[in-house]
Symmetry: C2
Subunit: 382 residues, 2 copies
């Protein structure tokens, strides 16, 4: 296995890109969907289910893990991979987004952010340097710079301040990451990605992208989207930002999205995605299938002996009747959350696999049109 | 596969019995532990995990299933086995115990019991005939007579009334079961068990056992225990009751128990057990191991890299560190409930397997003494 981090762009088809990231812990086929393992567990799934579903990489949250069980503890326990029994690549976010959405009593300055834990009220500080140090302790294969995430809508001034601060923090993260590598705390083959902020302002997005690119990081994320804006605004911002990013680096659209979001975003040049939608929906009985969304709470499934999704290859979608899944969800049985979360992650990975195949064969646009029609128009539940 | 229900007593060792129940859906090795699948799911476990753990038979609850999804609906969906994707034997209780412990506004008479659902307040009636009809609709392999369960302590008069009513109901259940068999609604090889009640009164227990035995049922349960009395009172009552039951029929001690309870009860001639302890404890981070109970919430596991139970053969007890399990349980992650429930069911089945091996080799008493010491004395958490 290589000790390098490398991205190969294998083929383009319109804006869509087929690629491969090679890491010391394994290959990541792109476009890639990264299931979210917030607290070192992709909720309600076993890691062998993730793997069998075609998952190459999982995401874990720096914010959650720094609070519990703590980054130093994870390091003493041999790192995050060993801790959560996942051998493949792991990406960790920097905590910036969760600090803004979950933590209390935040104090933000150019230095960093001080906040109270949502778990026990204890006070913590996250600086660009500490965010990198924590991610080195966790031992993730891809780490993200600390950035400032703002809620939308935001004023032009708020957006500009957040962009400038995020750029300054990117430089500091890069310097700290280099220092950690020199000290052996970050291993060869581990990578640091930058995050383009800028809200919905095209000029700010372009300026942020251009500035980050000069730092020559291993990959670039587009952050601050999927936070309440329209899908069209998100896609437009993605498209104009992606154009400013180098073709030879992976592009990660953070926190996205629905199956349709993923298809539209791949069409606009995004390579990597993470989102809680498949697992969170799974815990609430909402399933994603090749024929669209299925709300298993709906009474019309109560005597449906058919499987959740005959077009799936996942046992959860094939071996159990919709009637049984309906019963489990209505009864609040844990097995309902387990099965629907599993089926959803499997669907997402099958969707990515189909996208990769369509790009490889130069038929992405036709595939996307047919698939979107199938996902949106038939058997769709209210 | 046979179309008959048959019990073979293979060996005795002191009071302990090694046996085998043959049903059209498979063999049940006794002493047997039957995981509880209340609402057609053994909580947080996949059926293939149950099977791999050595589970021959699972229990489902008539009370829960008659309320949701409804017995007629389960029948229309092809029966309980198909519904819950479990191919092996299933035992159903009659609902009597749950009506007493869960339902509201009960009205009890010799005819039966009318009650309000704890789910939606709807009114339902359970008679001996309806209890049998429901269990035929569910299609379980072993069904239980409707009985009257009383809470302990109870007056002599209350206990006597409940015994007489339960005996009368046993006769009516037997008649209804025969009628269902004549009509083809109960298939050959399905069995009806009677339930001995009588609280802690030796005379009543003996009388109830003797009367039930004259009905020549396929098996006999000892009910109304493990409801708050001391372990010694339970074991004494079991012992005197078991002595009155025919050697050639299986004996099912309902709702029992802890690992020590199981060992002591097998020593006194019980063959079958069901209990929510392994799964309920699992959901609360309490694990059963060959070295005793382990409370995974305890901070002393926070950096323990060792597995839950090196003496187990279950992946949940071997492949994950106690530190990770501690973290999952503390964080309320579903995977924590999944892993500990799985490990607990596996431990219970390994315990039964060890008991069967010890009886087969005529060393049950020595095995029991050594095992009880191991379970009770080392690594026990508060």
């Amino acid at each position: 296995m290589t000790e390098c981090f490398a991205f190969a762009l294998l083929k383009t088809d319109g804006g869509a890109r087929l690629g491969e990231i090679v890491t010391p812990r394994g290959r990541i086929r792109t476009p890639a969907f990264m299931p979210v393992g917030t607290a070192a567990s992709v909720k309600a799934l076993y890691t062998d289910q993730l793997e069998a579903a075609g998952t190459d990489i999982v995401l874990a949250n720096t914010y959650h893990l720094m609070l519990r069980p703590g980054a130093e503890r994870v390091a003493r326990l041999g790192g995050l991979h060993r801790f959560m029994c996942w051998k493949g690549p792991i990406i960790t976010d920097s905590g910036g987004f969760q600090v803004m959405s979950l933590a209390r009593l935040r104090t933000l300055s150019d230095t960093g952010v001080t906040f109270q834990s949502h778990i026990d009220g204890s006070t913590h500080t996250l600086t660009p340097e500490r965010a990198v140090a924590i991610q080195c302790l966790l031992g993730s294969d891809i780490q993200m710079q600390l950035d400032e995430c703002i809620a939308l809508p935001a004023t032009a001034q708020e957006t500009r301040v957040a962009v400038d601060r995020s750029l300054a923090w990117a430089e500091r993260c890069k310097a700290e990451f280099a220092r950690q590598q020199d000290q052996g705390a970050a291993r060869p083959g581990q990578a640091l990605f930058g995050i383009v902020q800028g809200g919905l302002d095209p000029d700010l997005r372009r300026r942020a992208a251009d500035a980050l690119v000069t730092l020559d990081l291993k990959g670039y994320a587009i952050g601050g989207l999927a936070v309440g804006e329209t899908q069209q605004a998100m896609l437009d911002t993605l498209e104009l930002t992606a154009r400013r990013l180098p073709a030879g680096k992976p592009r990660y659209l953070m926190g996205v999205g629905t199956p349709i979001d993923l298809i539209e975003s791949v069409a606009r040049g995004a390579d990597m995605f993470d989102c809680v939608i498949p697992t969170r929906s799974g815990r609430h009985g909402l399933a994603f299938t090749w024929a669209g969304k299925v709300n298993l709470k709906n009474a019309r499934h109560a005597e449906d002996q058919g499987p959740l999704d005959p077009a799936s290859t996942c046992p959860a979608a094939l071996d159990y009747s919709r009637a049984y899944l309906h019963h489990l969800v209505k009864s609040g049985e844990l097995l309902g959350a387990m099965l629907v979360s599993w089926a959803n992650i499997a669907f997402y990975q099958q969707l990515m696999d189909a996208m990769r195949a369509a790009i490889a064969e130069g038929r992405f646009a036709a595939w996307a049109a047919a698939t979107k029609a199938g996902l949106g128009d038939t058997r769709r539940d209210p």
